[in-house]
Each structure stands twice: as structure tokens, then as C-alpha cells.
Subunit: 378 residues, 2 copies
């Protein structure tokens, strides 16, 4: 099943295993995409990232447009060469940044959105045409459409206007020039409002995008309501195109969206947690600042083979974190990314075997048991 | 020539090529030792450090004594296992830290030095016996004697007392238990005062240390006077033992002390420069913040094969530095350490060929020409 750049190779309930074919290689799905906001996954060398098993990374149109500028990146041979990552890259549209930095917005109108840059306060404007052009210059494998991303609790009238404009903007962006081989994904909005979400899905799906994202669902709304929405909305998207949920990275959330038919997702969580001294493990989340690790000679996660787990103890990592040593941030970031890649790879295998439910339950039970065992031990 | 753990394999004027044999492997000399103050060379994974060509690293008794504590490191199997570095490690004595944090000193007496810890302000005391014991627990390959390190412009009477106590302390420390296979180096003080420096050298050399350091010469005195002192002092040390100059890391300085008979040296310069956005190259020092690199597709140094130079452009490194991205600090630190290791390895080959003078002149001319060519281009 599938057409164009995406093939579904197995399903298990709503969950899908597939392959996304891009100009820079194939990506097995479900796929967790580490986030390289400013053309670098924070603290991780691209060669190390590949060794961890990452296949596709995300980069940020808003930030790269302003620093160092898409002209510069294009002049240097495109984003892949610039950042030393030869694998597939997805670039977001910048819409999420503009609309989540709400204080900087000056005006949203039919044509686009005007705002003040967070870099220098200058007035700037994003339009669908600019989003297309910047991403063409970056040369990403998947470009995202510029959307209007409102908080889930926005007023229905606001949401309705955002849905209408998001569709109109996507139509314009899809008509604009793109990089050779570049796929373009549309984004459905509508918050958790059933009618508006459905309308947005139908309108975006009708445009013939190479893939579809569910946007605006990780912005502060309740987890249950968000998952309910994913649960009924994802299956309404064309089955033969990849489905991307923007911004989820906790193990429970990843398994929940995979279960509901999502193929791709991204999150800054693993690197952000790494920089604040926390590790995602099969025994739950470890805060390395905790005194209980001060003489703990075990690896972070005995079942992990990442560089942090293969060569260092929790005690050493705690020392590095407490002393604010760069190597601590690096090693924890490596580990956390690896953990989510492994979790996702395991989900894919389980889907192919028709055992996704068993895998999900076992993974969640293992994480919960480890967490509570450690809490009892304290 | 040489006895015990050190063999001189070639000389060229005063310059020497040798091998230091330690419990964790041989170290060809001259040797640049990257500094892992808190049991990590800032921003560099030990595996990467080895790939760069580092053979021996330095770690800091003062800092490790307080955080995480030598008991903890001993309980975890010693410093090598703790920090994931299987090669030789030299630990300083903590004397340099205590005496360079002058505001924290409470009293220096025959027995030792009392001071307030920079970590929590508590009153602490270092004695030669404690310096021996902490380094025994750490299990370093080379332990340094606790010395009294005064500024080069200290009053002669002060210097004289420091020299006398440094000798007495070294005698006590050498009599204390040490780790299996651990070498102990004495440190000669005396500033740039000819008579006191000579007296310190003679007294320390008479103690039968495994090696000798020239201390107190990188603390703010004039470069010329320091080099003059090294020039006449180094040859007075026993020829069959390694000579260590503490704290030099600029290319000119490294070549100058090698020329004067120094075998080992260390410095935080390469990693500190890396963290502030500067690169040591064969074309001089590059400040990556400079606008001239914004579209520069060249590697940092075309003749370098480190990860930064092999895979990234100056423009990308500049972007990372300007955006305060961790990867920028990491890559520049890797490169700078590699540059000094390569410079030092080249010096060794030149000494073996009897061409050290030619090597030094060519290296300095190349660096100076590159620097001035770039200044003209601006």
C-alpha cells in the first residue's frame, strides 16, 4: 500500500510500519527525528548521530532563515553539506516558531504573517512563497507548509480562520518551486475542535501533498484530548502517505501516537533532558543529580549500547552533570536520542510481527516498574 | 641514555626525544598533555581524544579531591576507569590551584597549607602526605609533589622560604605510600631568581624523583625571562629523567621549551580557545566570529585531518560559534588539541632526524606568514 514516496509494509491495528523514500535515502517508519534546530542536533556530532541509528533529522526554517540565512547555506552547497549530515532532512516551515512566539507577532492576514525577529527585533514577514523558497534554498528532503498554529484552547472563530488560511497558504506553497526531489507535506490544524480539525484534514488532504502533519496538538492541551484527536484524525488522512505528528518525544507519547497510525515524529526532549542532567531509560527517567548515583558503578541503562552506557558509570555521569562539564551533556544527549531511536525501532519490528500491543504494554510496564522500584529504594 | 621509567632516544642540541614508560603504556616525548581538570578534557570524549593522538592526559588533584572525592573515585576502581581513559594520567598535586587562588589561603606553615575550598568555603588543609594519599587513591601514573608556587615577582625572602618548604615537602611526599607502579615527580620552584631556582633544582634533583618539573614559571612573568630560566635550568636537571614544564600551550611556547630540553608540558589553552571560538592553525590563530568566515567553505586548516577539518567548513563552525551551539565548542576543542599534538609529534620526528631547528623555524614562519596574510586580506 502506498503511492509516491511512501510505502506501508505492515499494519497492526492502526499502527503502521513503512518506508519513506527521499532524495537522501530511505527512512524506515515509524521514525523518530532528532531535532537540529540551528543545523545541529545540540551537542551531537552528525557522525555520532548516524551511529546511534538516526535516519532523518529535523532542522528549523525560522532560525536558519535568520542565522546564517538561506542564501549563505545555498551558497555553501545546501543544508546537508553545511551541517555535515548526508541523510534525509525535514525542515519545518517556521510557522510553529512564529505563532508560538506570540508576543512577537505584528499581524496575520491573507498574505502571510508579520512579526519581529527574535534575533534583532526587526520587522519580518513569512508568506507561503517565502517558506517554499527558503526551504528550496536549504534543499531539505521534506519541506513543510507554512501553517497557522494556534493554542488548542483558541476561540472557535479564531481556529476557523486559521484553518481556512492554513489551507489557502498550503495551496500557494504547493504551487511554488521546490528543490529537486523535495517532498512537501501539508499541515492540518483545527486544535481539538472536532469539526474544524476534520475540515482542515479534508482540505489539506485534497491538495495532493506528499505527506501530512497533525499540527497544533502539542501546544499545551491535555494529553488525553490530544490523543483522542490523533486517534480519530490520523485514519482520516490518506493511508498511502506518511503521517507526521509534530513535537512528541516522551516514550509514552511516542507509543501512543504510533498506536494511532502516526509514522513520523520529532522532539527536542532527548537533547533538552540531556542538557539538564536527566536520562530516559528502560527503568524510567533518571535525574543524575540525585545523590543515590554518587557511587553507582552501573551504566545508565544496562540494556543500552550507546557510548555513554558502554564506557561510563552513572557515578561519572553524575560527576560531569554536577560539575557542568560539557561531556556530561553530550553523553546524556547521545543516550537519550539512542533510547528513543531504539524504542521506535522496536515498535517497527513489533508492528511487522503483528505484536505492537504486546510491545507497547511490555515497554510501558518495564519503564513504570523501574521507576517505581527506584522510588521505593530512595 | 636514561634510567628507570624514561629513555632518551635522540637529542638535537638541548632538545630531546624520549619515551616515558608508565603503568598504562608508553608516552613518546616531547609530549603535550591535554588537561582534564575535573576528570574530563572539556568537551572531548576520551575515545575521540585517543583518536586525535593524545597519549597522556592531566587531571587535577585539587578539584577531584573535593568533587567527587578521591574515596569515591577509588571505590569506583580508580581514575582511569572512572573517566574512561585507559592511557597514562598525570595528576598535579593541587599546589598550583591552592597558591593561585591566593585569596583563599589561610596559612602556610611547615606542615602544609590551610585554605578555604572554592566549592563550599570550608577550611581545608593540604599536606605532602595528603597529596600523596589522594593521588594514591586516584591511581594516576605520575603523581606530582605538593609545592609552594609563588608569583615570579614574589620577594626573595618569600621565594627562599617557599623553596625550602617545597624541598622538605617533596621529601615527605616521596616517603609516603603510592599506587602500584606510580611515578612521582618533584617540582623545582624559585621563580626566575637564578640562585633560588638553582638551589631548588639541586635540592629536588637530589631526592631521587622519577622526573622533575619546573614550576612557577607560567604565572604571569615575562616570556623572555621565563624562557631564559628554562634555558639554563632544564639542563641542570638529571638528563636521564623526564622534564616537565607546567602550563604552556601556545605553539611558540611549546617549540621554545622543547628546544630548551623540556619533555612534557600541558595547557588548557586548546580547549579554552575552542570554547571561546578560536582555532589554532598552521595559518595562525583564527577567530571564528570574524565575518570574513561567513561563507568560507574551506576547512579550518586544510592540512589537518581532525573531525572538524575533515567534515565541516569554517562557515559552519562560525555559525555554530555565533549561535553558541555545543557542537562548535566540541569541534574547535578537538581541532585545537589535535593541532598541538601534531605540532609536538612533528617536533619529535625532527629531533630524531637532527633537524629540530629547521622544523621550529619552518613552523613558526608558516604560522606567522598565514597570520599576516590573513591580516592583509582583511
Amino acid at each position: 500500500m502506498g503511492d509516491g514516496a511512501f510505502t506501508v509494509v505492515a499494519t497492526d491495528g492502526a499502527a503502521r510500519a513503512g518506508v519513506l523514500r527521499t532524495a537522501h535515502g530511505d527512512v524506515p517508519t515509524p521514525a523518530f527525528m532528532p531535532v537540529g534546530t540551528k543545523a545541529t542536533v545540540k551537542g551531537i556530532d552528525p557522525e555520532a548521530l548516524r551511529s546511534l541509528g538516526a535516519r532523518m533529522v529535523l532542522a528549523n526554517t525560522y532560525h536558519l532563515h535568520f542565522r546564517p540565512g538561506a542564501d549563505t547555506i545555498e551558497a555553501l552547497g545546501g543544508l546537508h553539506r553545511f551541517m555535515g549530515w548526508e541523510g534525509p532532512i525535514l525542515t519545518d516551515s517556521g510557522g510553529f516558531q512564529v505563532f508560538s512566539l506570540r508576543d512577537t507577532i505584528l499581524a496575520t492576514d491573507e498574505g502571510g504573517v508579520s512579526f519581529r525577529s527574535v534575533y534583532d527585533g526587526r520587522e519580518e514577514r513569512f508568506t507561503p512563497e517565502l517558506a517554499a523558497d527558503v526551504q528550496r534554498q536549504l534543499g531539505s528532503d521534506v519541506a513543510m507548509c507554512l501553517d497557522i498554529c494556534l493554542p488548542a484552547d483558541a476561540a472557535p472563530a479564531e481556529l476557523e480562520l486559521a484553518v481556512a488560511r492554513t489551507t489557502a497558504w498550503a495551496r500557494r506553497q504547493l504551487a511554488a518551486p521546490r528543490a529537486a526531489g523535495q517532498l512537501v507535506f501539508g499541515i492540518a490544524q483545527g486544535g481539538t475542535h472536532p469539526e474544524l480539525r476534520r475540515r482542515s484534514l479534508e482540505e489539506i488532504a485534497a491538495l495532493g501533498c506528499d505527506g501530512h502533519a497533525l499540527g497544533g496538538l502539542s501546544v499545551g492541551e491535555e494529553r488525553e484530548l490530544m490523543l483522542d484527536t490523533v486517534g480519530w484524525a490520523a485514519p482520516l488522512l490518506p493511508a498511502g502517505r506518511p503521517r507526521y505528528f509534530m513535537g512528541i518525544g516522551d516514550p509514552e507519547g511516542i507509543l501512543a501516537v504510533i498506536e494511532r497510525g502516526i509514522d513520523m515524529f520529532d522532539c527536542v526532549l532527548p537533547t533538552r533532558l540531556g542538557r539538564t542532567g536527566s536520562a530516559l531509560t528502560w527503568a524510567g527517567r533518571l535525574n543524575l543529580r540525585n545523590r543515590c548515583y554518587s557511587r553507582d558503578s552501573q551504566p545508565l541503562d544496562p540494556s543500552c549500547s550507546c557510548p555513554a552506557c558502554a564506557r561510563f558509570s552513572r557515578a561519572y555521569l553524575r560527576h560531569l552533570v554536577n560539575q557542568q562539564e560539557l561531556l556530561g551533556l553530550i553523553l546524556l544527549s547521545l543516550h537519550n536520542v539512542r533510547f528513543l531511536l531504539d524504542l521506535t525501532a522496536g515498535a517497527r519490528v513489533a508492528i511487522e510481527r503483528g505484536e505492537f500491543g504486546v510491545y507497547r504494554d511490555a515497554a510501558l510496564a518495564r519503564i513504570a516498574q523501574g521507576q517505581s522500584a527506584r522510588e521505593v529504594a530512595k
